[in-house]
């Protein structure tokens, strides 16, 4: 056959027809379709049997269930954290931090997977084995102690009531250092106010059974106690078709709580406590207080040398005067007070500030006084005293020793002030420190004054961070020890702020995401055992399971408790409250405080000096009575800092515990984070107009502590003269989904000390604002 044009065409056409007749082409097309859908970068989660395990999130107090999938290849893994309908307080709900907890657990980019030693010069980490790491840590502690200066060891922990916190306290007591502080919280302020006026520390608000609730500046629906439990109470007031409860919010911004409230009393920031006192005045003047409760109390009327609460109020907190000072309409204030006084089950609530700070003690005392006038203490829907948690002590309960702490304890009632400790250590006054233990809490980010904490870590020769994550604290530590996430290790948590009943939460290892991680408590136990002698004897446990078994022995069978994951007081303690005050009565004039400070001062002249030194305004007359102190930031306003900076609380952000999660970042609205991860701050349009600023301008906010750069968002619900910024953003760690989103509020917040409680406060900071670009 000859190869001519015809033959070629025949072969080509024949070939094409032949290929089409064969399945080859269809097979290839099919394969390519399958191939294009076989996306190796789209994960294929493994299927398996589903199981549920109870757990309590120690960060939020939510009773939850972990949904576990038992895969044949991948093993058991948690796929969701859901609500636990059997938990008596949270009844099945969750908040974003619970629902997205797995994002921090399962992310090897942000978890500490092995003990790490950092070279300060290069900043590079090298991996260690656990025995090596523990030897380094124990060696350092032994050396510092041997030099006769155990106080040069400082420790910062997260939750003082948890088993880990208690072990840290025992370790520091055994080492002989008094320099220990924990993440400050409003529970401590409430305990101090309760101790001063009622001789009781474990107070709670019976919100669910109340029909008239007034919240004094605390973000009830954004960041208060166990957020799910608070919402369940709120939902119970929103009946259908009629509301069964009345909620009033007193604060400066149209927040979620203010908007969902039946009445919003917009006041100047920081004046909430004064309004509580003005309401007391109105109730007294109108004769609408509970006569029986007041007659049974101490310090209402003048007694001997002491001026009573009544005459003190009538003289100093006249309704017109306070209403004008706070910038609220008098008639609205009176209406609110009359409603409160006449309601069947009314309660006034105090709590953490919008910035999550522990609040001011005199404000809390004013709110307790208002509740006492209403006569709701120990009654349904009022202020309750929780039963004590049946927990056994697992070690030392106090740091009492001969060594002088960095911060003079006479400065306030509570020595838990990480900020004051850090400032003293940075200044080296009265002495410097050599070793810093950071046990959770990520202080270098959370602060409260983050810049000070970072300086402290950089100045201290040896810094140890025990953390599940490669967080900001880990990035400045010399030794980083991997600890467990709450879903993979043993641990516990106690009653959330303001809970009407005592509750306890336990978590146990459900899965293992990081095999090398140890419970923080277990690390402390092993360090103690390496140090030997008295220190090992003070912490005589093998592991956290043993610690928790010992701690909870009064709660029944441990295995059952661990499976159930919570213990909750059966019913609220209604009935007459046993006031453990010096007079045995409710004290409007705190005899307990008077005796304590008199003891410290020695004689009456010194007492006056001591009170002045603590920074209590109003002198001796006011020091032992609920009264109002102008916020410290008010004094700074004149110094070229014309505006106030405060926080926008939200359940989509966090402060103090675990960091914000990627899903929480994802659901942040444009009014918090916008335009390629810029922080957004709110300002009243009128204030912006006066400063020649427009919506969307990029501004710099400067305080004495630091500065923030943010996009300006004009919001009519913001009080004039105040800048509102979200908290908990601007991480320098936690992976690309969280890192660099916004800026850290606690870099700009100025932290001061509350004069009476001695706790750090940072609700308000004086700032100046400047336009960067528009």
């Amino acid at each position: 056959m000859q190869w001519d044009r015809r033959a070629f065409i025949k072969l080509a056409v024949g070939g094409v027809l032949g290929v089409h007749a064969s399945p080859l082409m269809w097979k290839l097309m099919d394969d390519s379709t399958i191939w294009t859908q076989n996306w190796s970068w789209v994960p294929v989660p493994e299927d398996g049997a589903v199981a549920f395990a109870n757990v309590v999130n120690p960060q939020t107090g939510t009773g939850a269930k972990a949904r576990l999938v038992q895969g044949r290849v991948d093993g058991t893994r948690a796929i969701r954290v859901e609500g636990n309908p059997e938990h008596p307080l949270s009844k099945g709900g969750v908040v974003p931090q619970d629902a997205s907890a797995l994002q921090l657990l399962y992310n090897t980019d942000i978890r500490v997977t092995a003990p790490l030693l950092r070279d300060r010069a290069t900043g590079r980490y090298s991996k260690l084995s656990w025995p090596e790491a523990l030897d380094i840590l124990a060696g350092n502690l032994a050396e510092v102690s041997k030099q006769g200066k155990p106080e040069a060891i400082m420790a910062l922990g997260h939750d003082p009531e948890s088993a880990t916190g208690q072990l840290l306290l025992s370790l520091m007591a055994a080492l002989g250092s008094p320099n220990l502080a924990f993440t400050p919280n409003a529970g401590e302020t409430l305990a101090l106010a309760g101790l001063a006026m009622m001789g009781q520390t474990d107070l709670g608000f019976d919100l669910a059974n109340s029909d008239y609730v007034i919240s004094f500046g605390t973000p009830l629906l954004e960041n208060f106690g166990a957020p799910v439990a608070t919402r369940k109470a709120f939902a119970s007031w929103r009946g259908f078709p009629k509301n069964s409860g009345f909620l009033a919010q007193i604060e400066s911004r149209a927040s979620v709580t203010a908007s969902q409230a039946d009445m919003w009393l917009a006041c100047r920031p920081g004046t909430e406590g004064a309004l509580a006192l003005a309401m007391c005045t109105i109730m007294i003047q109108e004769g609408l207080y509970d006569q029986a409760a007041v007659n049974a109390s101490f310090g209402f009327k003048d007694e001997g040398d002491f001026k009573g609460f009544k005459s003190f109020l009538l003289k100093n907190y006249r309704r017109e005067q306070v209403a004008q000072m706070a910038g609220v309409p008098l008639e609205k204030l009176v209406k609110l007070t009359l409603g409160f006084a006449k309601a069947k089950k009314a309660v006034a609530v105090c709590g953490p500030g919008n910035s999550s700070d522990p609040g001011r003690m005199y404000d809390f005392m004013a709110v307790l006084a208002l509740n006492a006038l209403k006569g709701n203490i120990g009654k349904p829907g009022g202020v309750l005293v929780q039963d004590p948690l049946p927990l056994k002590s697992i070690g030392s309960t106090s740091l009492r020793g001969n060594v002088r702490p960095l911060v003079d304890p006479a400065q306030g009632l509570d020595s838990n002030n990480p900020d004051a400790l850090a400032k003293a250590a940075v200044a080296g006054k009265p002495y410097g420190i050599k070793t810093l233990l950071l046990v959770g809490g990520n202080f270098v980010f959370n602060g409260p004054q983050a810049g000070v904490m970072e300086e402290l870590a950089r100045k201290t020769p040896f810094v140890v961070a025990m953390t599940p994550y490669l967080d900001e604290s880990a990035s400045v530590a010399d030794l980083v020890l991997p600890t467990t996430h709450w879903l993979e290790g043993w641990g516990d948590s106690t009653s959330p702020y303001g809970s009407p009943v005592a509750c306890y939460g336990l978590h146990r290892p459900l899965i293992k995401a990081v095999p090398q991680a140890k419970d923080a408590g277990e690390v402390l136990l092993q360090v103690a055992s390496r140090l030997g002698g008295k220190i090992a004897a003070a912490l005589p446990y093998k592991n956290m399971e043993e610690v928790l078994t010992a701690r909870t022995q009064a709660m029944g069978d441990f295995e059952q408790l661990a499976e159930q994951s919570f213990w909750v007081q059966a019913k609220p303690a209604y009935g007459p409250v046993k006031f453990q005050t010096p007079t045995g009565r409710f004290e409007f004039f705190s005899m307990g405080l008077f005796k304590l400070l008199s003891g410290r001062a020695g004689n009456p002249q010194n007492l006056e000096r001591l009170v002045a030194m603590m920074g209590v305004s109003g002198g001796l007359e006011a020091a032992f009575l609920p009264h109002w102190e102008a916020p410290a930031a008010a004094d700074d306003l004149g110094t070229g800092m014309p505006l106030l900076l405060t926080a926008v609380p939200s359940l989509r952000t966090t402060w103090g515990g675990d960091a914000i999660t990627p899903y929480m970042v994802k659901v942040l609205p444009d009014t918090m984070l916008a335009d390629m991860d810029k922080l957004v701050v709110e300002m009243n349009p009128q204030t912006a107009h006066e400063l020649h600023l427009y919506d969307g301008d990029l501004i710099r906010i400067d305080s004495v502590a630091g500065s923030l750069t943010a996009k300006l968002s004009l919001f009519a619900g913001a009080a004039p003269g105040v800048v509102y910024a979200p908290v908990g953003l601007g991480h320098g760690a936690f992976g690309f989904q969280v890192e660099g989103k916004g800026m850290n509020f606690n870099r700009a917040a100025k932290v001061t000390t509350d004069p009476m409680s001695g706790l750090p406060v940072w609700e308000l900071t004086a700032v100046s604002v400047e336009k960067v670009q528009g």
Binding site: V42, P43, R77, G83, N107, N243, L651, V667, L668, A719
Partner: protein, 269 residues
């Protein structure tokens, strides 16, 4: 579904619970809300008044699972109707060239089958509620994070559209269970992830037509409304609020007296 806006505190739990239930990823930049995928998105509105009379409220917005408009009596236009006639389609279903989305007559759920989707985004444009999202990017799953993914929902690939399915996988599981036990799917057997998660119990889920279910009672209240009702999409998500300004913001404020008249006017009667 009925969402009580007076109970909603805008905490975002519904949104986050939805993401963890449905394997939704997180991109590098989530401030670009047009490309950020949130099946359940919580919008914030305010009453526009100056300080101190300002008030804010939140509107959680899942897919509305529209049944589509239908000419009929005003009463029907407001509540549930019988089977669709030819003129009635959910806006997204009628434009899909690939039959990747469909309306299920039995459940009233508008489905979405990502593997069938060709990525033309007609449905995204057609949806008046912005409830549909296009996967512009592959999800950059951080190392180790796929361990938290649910095996009951397939993670989607780049180039397809996705949206809220009323947690259809939960319906399937409940239906299977009911089949095995020989019973029916009860009200509490099938609840969406957002309903379960909501800490204030603002979301109620059930069959709108079943008089035994809570939602059936709730939608007959004077405080109930739907979003963009005048578009005749006939959504299956109802909202309720005792606050007048919130109801007015829904763009179809209807008082008790003109409720039926207005509905009739909208249907061209």
């Amino acid at each position: 579904m009925v969402i009580d806006l007076d109970k909603c505190t805008g905490c975002g739990a519904c949104s986050v619970a939805c993401m963890s239930e449905n394997n939704i990823g997180v991109l590098h930049n989530e401030t670009d809300k047009i490309r950020s995928i949130t099946w359940m998105r919580v919008y914030q509105i305010d009453n526009g008044k100056a300080f101190p009379d300002t008030e804010v409220a939140f509107i959680p917005r899942p897919c509305m699972h529209c049944q589509g408009g239908k000419s009929g009596t005003p009463g029907q236009a407001f509540f549930q109707e019988g089977p669709m006639d030819e003129a009635a389609h959910p806006p997204c279903v009628s434009v899909c060239p690939a039959t990747a989305t469909d309306y299920d007559e039995d459940t009233g759920i508008v489905s979405q089958i990502p593997t069938r989707c060709i990525g033309c985004r007609y449905c995204v444009a057609a949806c008046p509620y912005h409830a549909r999202y296009f996967n512009w990017y592959d999800v950059p799953w951080p190392k180790g994070s796929p361990r938290a993914l649910s095996p009951f929902v397939s993670p989607r690939m780049r180039g397809v559209v996705e949206k809220c399915t009323f947690c259809f996988q939960r319906y399937q599981a409940a239906r299977n269970k009911a089949m095995v036990s020989g019973g029916e799917v009860g009200e509490m057997d099938y609840q969406t992830a957002c309903t379960e998660a909501c800490p204030s119990g603002a979301i109620t889920f059930g069959q709108l037509q079943n008089p035994e279910h809570k939602v059936h009672k709730l939608i007959s209240s004077d405080y109930t409304f739907r979003l963009l009702e005048r578009l005749h999409t006939n959504p299956k998500v109802y909202y309720m609020s005792k606050r007048e300004w919130v109801r007015k913001m829904a763009d179809n404020y209807v008082t008790r007296h003109n409720k039926f008249a207005q509905a009739a006017a909208q249907s061209g009667h």
